[in-house]
Symmetry: none
Subunit: 290 residues, 5 copies
């Protein structure tokens, strides 16, 4: 068998190859077209985003610093962040503030996760149809991965069902693979890396994950996963300098954005405002400025 | 990055800001318009309400003092309370008494909750479609929150499903986060506060909760939750003076109403009548009269 | 055969007989209970009602005197009328004004009728589900009866379908049999009388018809039809004295109310206000005062 | 009867009255909240909008000056218009251009109307579900009103069905009552005025109509209809000065925006660009600048 | 108003612009991804295709030269054409012949059109779900456009419904706007040009149309429509030289392929084979070879 004739130069990765100009216009559907539109609202013209998460109440209750999520939106809305991640009640009630063309994007935390003794349970807080009615630009779900094999089955099914339902409405899905155990253990990076891969295999549109600390490894993740990766902030801690360095390192390694909440809004407002401006300039700085 | 141009005076909270006069008339739906109508029937022109609950039989059976709920409605209907909270059978059978324009509002206790050894179960006693047929002004569900994480998932899902179904009929939903264990324990206030927050995140329209005893904390809850909060009475106990003081304190701290049953109708009728009048005057007293 | 044992004193008509105490509480459904409630809101405690119709725009466009139906509602709402008959857009947008327990009832003009050369067509302007969401107390449809046999079939079917759909939501249906031809001809009374009967046979809950001019005949109609009959006003004309006499005669003959619009709101507001007060006192006067 | 007690100062129109602060946050639904958001994207912070229509191909085929609607979008997108009105194919294919937070709003021309000899027919070009997937901010339908009564029934039904379907997705509906006959005849203003009223009664969220030429009459329409009115441009004709004056007069009389296509894009691009700038400044000029 | 800041260099047409590499991988859905795959099977790596249609029996019955469509498939399958256009029965029965990776693509003629005296009727011959089960690469429908306005409404609706159904299965739709009257008349080009535009506005993925004879006009169509255009052959006639020149002209002007049946398979097989080879070389010749 002559193998030579099969040896071709591998094509570029599909989405970075020059678009097939003939039928590209035909290969969309209403739903994929809507997804393109909504992802563009989340990631903007430079493909980068700073999302401010304030959805913690959907699982943690009356979190310190986020006792009043509507007030938090009110405080941070005039700043230049690219989007908010919020629970359904807050999105429903703050709609008038986002009712303008220059408003930030909105991602809906559509699920609630509860860890029982044996197994955790994920539920939808609101139906996908209602999420679409609200006009959000995407939905976000948690994917705890430091769990038993039985629960991994349940989590995989949940992620798959949410992605399926979201496709029917043209809504992108952000999946957050996470180790919830405390302390997080030595194998946390490996577990979260596996979770990212599982999320990508299931069809997640955006992956949110803790920065693994290792720029080389993280860079590989960003390349391999094939969808934009944004990093989370985690519990408050460290100083603003640490955070700025972490974000710089992550963005340089390939992150497409950040969703940092507690480490931002658990600070005094003046400090938070200054920090937000600094993070925005890191996230959106151009190649030339690096 | 020029942060200055983004630093604006934060807007007022959406629902207290002057309505956008241009398109406000267009931003309603049949369902939201119906919700506006029904909430107005519950809270009246001054935005305050005294609801008399007599739905206890849907979970507790033949409660002392409420052996005959139809008779209780008959007794209290001529008094000036703003609404009743009743089970489906009682609402169905007492309809002729409420068939007039000046009748009190009716909230339907649409669920029944049963605590098993491991996990509790909430069920709908009647479908949302039947609730809508009955012409009630809203539905009410219990949200026990001193439960395992697994049950919290189930409760969150139940609350979300009821709110979704109610939206399709334009019916407001009152959610009652509650600690059912006895004794209620030291952390009862924190648990109920988290439950209130969860209910608000899920989109509850009205929150019913025990007064936490601390006016400062309760005032924060009322501000943060963004929807009207009404307090419950709990088991009979204390004298009328205590109750009047509790209601005064709660209303002053931001409550929009009360739903007090056993502590009212487990008294002799003359005493209950007098107490009801007193509570009504507390609930509806104007700013000037305070 | 012994016929004697069948010769009994005829019972009273069912709805005027003392309630069958055994199963009355059980013979209701959620829907029938809701209908009882809503009819009570329309007819009030004395079983009489003055409905102000301002729905003409749903067929006649920008009617003189009703160019601005929302303004008309605003003007007449503070007066003491028992209800309004309005189109869907107006009901949706004026909901905040009716959001209180002492507000007038609202009937929704749910259809639109257009007379073609050969046959007329009735269409629903809004679905019954949306009518129920809005929280209206009933729906109203037109039943033109000076039509061909083919159209009578279509009209009967439409009335039947609307009544069927309304039952599923517990909504009473007001049917208006009418001769639309102009001039109305000599047989107008016979045709409208037949139309009333047809509406009653089909299950209409309320019949709205022009006063036939003959109190004896009208009295028979009211007795025979077995459901409340309200009279309409028709085009403006005559003086207020004529109208008051017509209403007095109709109410004395058995009418349960009036729905008079153009003859009321096409007058100057002061005159209309005074006339409304006069009509209200006629409609609601007690037996003793007659 | 004591009328005095009912004589109150009429309330302000619901949407200009101060929002009822107590329960306003509760009276929304997911759908109404989404409508608020989408209307805000269309009308912006000043409640005014300049929509560029390029949907003519969905009925007129290969229109002169609009042979290539995608190219037209490409040309005009960099200018500062507030929105585009486009057919489904064009919206699906141009999604990447609108995929950013500062992009213009998009309204979808969801229907196609064809006038037969006896009766015209309206059809949906794309389902409402697909419109929602695409992420458009609203849908627009034509409502020809110079038609037979039989067709008026069909048009009313079509408008009602589209509004019902759109509500389920939180999408606002722009209805365009229009006289399509040529010449348009003497009664064109009266017919279009009746059509506007009918659209408002049926629940249209935005009304698009030809400027009737009479500022006093148009001002009344804008007040009466209770929803924002935008004017259309009609066939090309007249010079830019005429158009600027027409727009000025219409905006001063109460219009909330303009949707002018052929009179804009059938000009040379430099002229069109200059005219667009002029129209934008007229539409958005503030009270002080008038 | 400063227009300068809005004056940007217009972007490239979305599908020829460099893909936004960040989120392109995320903006697909299962259905759009399937459409990409299927379109690639139809158009191949050079974006051009020669489809052999043999579906005529679905409307014309026992066509001369196509009495036995299965035999025709058997005859032409070994030749190097890119695809077949076949009716459902033939596709179902010839599946084994196409059961290999190097087999031609298959488009399913999913409809049947019948012209009555007043109005024509399009019906689906097979459901879209069955088309998907068959594993075809696309479906094709006829869109007669030399029809009354009433029928244009019906055709538009049919095209819209088929496109909607096909999207749900990830199937591309080829629409064929056509003048069926004979003789075809002077305005045939204008009518078919309008039909192409209507098909594109409705979201057709591929347009099949008769070559209008004018390369300049046809080139504009190909640019404007934004989706691949393939030309049809029409009834047999002319010699092979004429046909080759027509195809050359069309491909040079922008066509992406041809679907020529009768003019091919109504010839003797040797002649047809030779002609097919010639047409394939015209369709697939590279830029350099032109």
């Amino acid at each position: 068998m002559e193998m030579e004739k099969y040896l071709m130069t591998p094509a570029e990765r599909p989405w970075s190859a020059p678009a097939a100009t003939v039928y590209a216009a035909s290969s969309s559907t209403s739903a994929s077209s809507g997804k393109t539109y909504r992802l563009g609202r989340i990631f903007g013209r430079d493909g980068r985003t700073l999302i401010l998460p304030a959805d913690h109440g959907t699982m943690l209750g009356r979190v310190s610093g986020l006792e009043d999520p509507i007030e938090l939106v009110r405080t941070f809305l005039p700043l230049a962040c690219d989007g908010f991640l919020l629970g359904p009640g807050v999105i429903q009630r703050t709609a008038p503030w986002f009712a303008a063309r220059d408003a930030p994007a909105r991602l809906l935390a559509i699920d609630s996760y509860w860890r029982g003794e044996d197994i955790g349970t994920s539920v939808l807080s609101i139906s996908m149809a209602r999420a679409a009615q609200l006009g959000v630009d995407g939905v976000k779900i948690l994917m705890p991965w430091d769990v038993s094999p039985t629960e991994r089955a349940a989590r995989s099914q949940f992620v798959g069902l949410v992605i399926t339902a979201a496709e029917e409405h043209g809504l992108p899905v952000m999946v957050e693979p996470i180790v919830l155990s405390s302390p997080r253990g030595e194998d946390v990076v490996a577990i979260e890396g596996d979770g990212c891969r599982m999320a990508a295999e299931l069809g997640a549109d955006i992956i949110k994950v803790a920065y693994p600390g290792d720029p080389e490894l993280f860079s590989k993740w960003c390349d391999e996963l094939g969808v934009p990766v944004v990093i989370l902030g985690g519990p408050a801690g460290g100083n603003t300098q640490d955070l700025a360095e972490l974000v710089t390192e992550a963005m340089d390694a390939g992150a497409k954005g950040i969703t940092i909440g507690r480490r931002l809004w658990q600070r005094p407002i003046e400090e938070a405002t200054k920090l937000l401006g600094e993070l925005l300039s890191i996230v959106h700085r151009t190649e030339e400025n690096r």
